[in-house]
């Protein structure tokens, strides 16, 4: 049987969700029998393969134009898209920026911080442009499964993947794995 292809990526997040994913520990070996990891922030391949993957996993909030592009590419190339973590599902810690506004946040971070002198707000073409509002991933692409948690428990990742491998599509996580924090 062909292996199930998985791609992962992170948007505006802290990488904690990926860490938590790796916390499934030796069970990852068991997964590798049935699964092939393609692109991810921790492997060499940085974009999901053109021919597509079965499962796409996104961590982090939509906070700038680059995040939008990455999310859209993942959506186009993944048959089933999972948003993991509070940032990808609700906006999370990143969305605290909404309370003061993007301009004020940039000024505070790059110009007004006590340790900064002669600071500039980065404005390179290479960088995505910050959006006015930070949101979860589902504001720009359709999401098939939400796994909230800050970060989600390793068991939540394992449960979701095991269900998908068994041909079942989870709609909501079981109560013991469904946590906001």
């Amino acid at each position: 049987m062909a292996k199930i292809k998985i791609a992962t990526d992170w948007l505006a997040g802290c990488a904690g969700c990926h860490m938590s994913f790796l916390d499934i520990d030796e069970r990852i070996v068991q997964l590798l029998d049935a699964v092939e990891f393609t692109s991810s922030p921790v492997t060499d391949l940085k974009h999901p393969p053109k021919e597509g993957v079965d499962i796409g996993i996104l961590e982090g909030a939509i906070s700038n134009t680059h995040n939008v592009e990455v999310a859209k590419q993942m959506r186009e190339r993944a048959r089933f898209l999972i948003a993991v973590g509070d940032c990808a599902t609700f906006g999370g810690v990143v969305a605290m920026r909404n309370l003061c506004g993007t301009d004020a946040a940039l000024r505070r971070a790059y110009l007004e911080t006590e340790s900064v002198c002669g600071g500039v707000i980065p404005d390179s073409q290479e960088l995505g442009k910050p959006l006015e509002m930070v949101t979860g991933v589902d504001s720009v692409v359709k999401v098939d499964l939400f796994i909230p948690g800050c970060p989600p428990r390793a068991d939540a990742f394992f449960y979701a993947l095991s269900e998908l491998l068994a041909g079942r599509t989870p709609v909501v996580l079981p109560p013991e794995l469904f946590l906001y924090d």
Binding site: A83, D86, T89, F90, G91, G92, V93, A95, M96, N98, L99, C100, M133, V134, T135, G136, D138, S139, V143, F146, I147, P148, C150, V171, V172, L173, P175, F178, L179, Y180, D181
Partner: protein, 600 residues
């Protein structure tokens, strides 16, 4: 009155419900769960949140179960797909109204909104993230009000209105901008708030939470111990919440017969912020200075001195806040076994109005006339003042007899000087359920006049000391029994000091043994200082001002080397060759017999 029972069906199950109950009450009685948010069992329901929606056959719209009364034959559904959809909509709206990012919220893991989110699988938000920033009011010394987490359920303001009857909280602004506010506009810290903490205890979210226990862990990491507050003679039931050996917070016990969910600042917050220095090891005077000793040495010195002092020269004085067991052992050891002239109380007990019906605090609720005489419960027995104000809400009239300023005066129908009692007696005779609440300042003349009321009125004494009622029953006298005391044993407990008059009554050359929890000017003077456990560290019974005997339980072990009062006394008695009892249970049983057998 006959209680009419109605028959209704909920989810096809036939159940009985008393006339006048709501669908929610009927369902809960039958063990059927309907989710709620703004409803709180101890508060009048208002139907504000719409989480408890149910389908009632024949009703066009979904109805809130918490306010909808049952009628005979009613058919109710509580969890149909349409209801789940409606409820999810309501919960989604609640989540998107303000900042509900749980990962940095103190209440995460013990929040009723969060529980609803879990129950209905809210794993992302349908409505956009709320971006308006609300203020945080941190001005109360004891708790925080974070408007960003508030769901406007109004539980807090109903609690403030119904439990302490203080009416500090209200609702300001409009619509989505509505905010809970104190006195219209004031910061909580400079408002009329009396820090009873009722609002904090009922808040279902992270909008109101205590500073002392904030971010100290979720409920599963905490242990709860039901106990009794001993900081005044009301004897409120409370739950001591601990993590390890740290007391995190004190909550009121909703089931407690006396206070039914109320506590005051003295009981809920102040004990957590007592900054005095604890005594943690026995101390004995060596070369004029207090020096550390072990229990063995301290008890040996104490018992030797007691043993060689004449009974007539033996003085014994105790705090009236100590447990029944401690007070029992104290008077038994000094008075009965050692033959001292008497055992005295630091703050005196008060005499009862004989010939009148002894009342219970619950009598206040249905009273139509309350005579308050010689007491200022707002200061001294705060929960009693809450109960009085509650009775006034229900139509009772308050008449205060006080020659000085009384904190309840603004609520009184009349305030009269103590010389003017006759007019009151006429009023009391005309009332149908008069209650006389009397305190330590009642004059003997006033007592005599009041007793003319006889069985017409019920009388409730407000004892000045926490356990004063038991002390009276056990035969303690007020103040230091007269005589020349060459040795004085003072059980100070947690009291601050003994007061000027007593201080002066102590002979300068008397040998002083003090049993106390904290350092104090008196403790400094002791020759032997025995460290005793505090409220959170002691087991025993307490007798409240109505004569109700209740069980206090320890929530943590006594700090350092300190020991419980009863245990110190039992050890001392042992040294003196007087056996008091086999075990705590044995002593406690003797005590309860002794206290309850007496007319209080």
């Amino acid at each position: 009155m006959e209680i009419v029972t109605l028959t209704i069906t909920i989810n096809g199950q036939t159940i009985k419900a008393p006339f006048g109950s709501t669908i929610l009450q009927a369902a809960r009685q039958a063990g059927i769960d309907i989710p709620t948010l703004c409803n709180h069992p101890a508060l009048v329901p208002v139907g504000a949140c719409r989480v408890c929606l149910v389908e009632v056959k024949g009703q066009r719209n979904l109805q809130p179960a918490c306010t909808f009364p049952v009628v005979d034959g009613m058919e109710v559904q509580t969890e149909t797909p349409a209801l789940v959809k409606a409820r999810k909509f309501v919960i989604d709206m609640l989540f998107s109204q303000r900042n509900h990012f749980c990962m940095f919220c103190e209440m995460s893991g013990k929040c009723e909104l969060q529980d609803l989110g879990y129950r209905y699988g809210i794993d992302h938000w349908i409505y956009s993230t709320y971006t308006k920033r609300f203020p945080v009011d941190a001005t109360s010394p004891y708790f925080l009000l974070d408007h960003n987490r508030c769901v406007l359920c109004s539980r807090c303001l109903r609690a403030c209105d119904e439990l302490p009857v203080n009416r500090t909280l209200g609702l300001g602004q409009r619509g989505a901008d509505s905010m809970i506010c104190a006195d219209g506009i004031a910061p909580l810290g400079s408002s009329t708030c009396i820090s009873c903490g009722s609002c904090v205890q009922v808040c279902p979210t992270g909008a109101l939470f205590e500073k002392h226990s904030a971010f100290m862990g979720t409920d599963e990491k905490m242990s709860c111990t039901k106990s009794i507050c001993s900081f005044c003679s009301i004897g409120c039931g409370m739950t001591i919440v601990t993590r390890g050996d740290q007391v995190q917070r004190i909550e009121s016990d909703w089931e407690a017969p006396v206070n039914g969910g109320r506590l005051c600042r003295k009981g809920r917050f102040e004990p957590l912020y007592d900054g005095r220095k604890r005594l943690t090891t026995p101390l004995v005077r060596r070369n004029g200075k207090l020096a550390e000793a072990d229990w063995d040495e301290a008890l040996q010195i104490a018992s030797e001195h007691i043993g060689r002092t004449d009974a007539a020269a033996l003085g014994a004085l105790s705090s009236g806040d100590a447990t029944n067991e401690a007070l029992y052992l104290f008077q038994r050891l000094f008075r009965r076994e050692l033959g001292a002239a008497g055992a005295g109380l630091l703050r005196g007990g008060i005499s009862r109005l004989t010939g009148m019906k002894p009342g219970k605090l619950s009598d206040l609720e249905n009273s139509d006339l309350i005579l308050l005489i010689g007491a200022d419960p707002t200061k001294d027995q705060p929960v009693a003042s809450f109960l009085i104000k509650r009775a006034l809400d229900k139509g009772a009239k308050l008449v205060i007899v006080d020659d000085r300023e009384n904190s309840l005066s603004p609520f009184a129908w009349q305030t009269v000087p103590s010389g003017d009692l006759d007019k009151l007696l006429v009023m009391a005779v005309q009332a149908s359920r008069p209650v006389v609440l009397h305190g330590a300042e009642m004059t003997a003349d006033a007592a005599k006049s009041l007793m003319q009321l006889g069985k017409k009125a019920v009388a409730i004494a407000l004892e000045p000391a926490g356990n004063g009622c038991a002390a009276r029953a056990l035969g303690f006298q007020n103040g230091l029994p007269s005589g020349t005391h060459r040795l004085l044993y003072i059980l100070l407990g947690e009291e601050k000091d003994i007061g000027e008059n007593l201080q002066q009554a102590i002979a300068p050359d008397a040998f002083l043994i003090v049993q106390a929890s904290y350092t104090s000017p008196l403790a400094e003077k002791a020759h032997v200082l025995l460290p005793s456990a505090i409220w959170s560290e002691r087991d025993g019974t307490l007798t409240n001002t109505e004569g109700r005997v209740q069980r206090a339980r320890k929530a943590r072990e006594p700090l350092g080397e300190s020991r419980q009062d009863w245990e110190i006394l039992a050890l001392l008695a042992d040294r003196l060759g007087r056996k008091m009892g086999e075990s705590f249970d044995d002593i406690s049983a003797q005590t309860v017999r002794e206290v309850q057998g007496k007319e209080i």
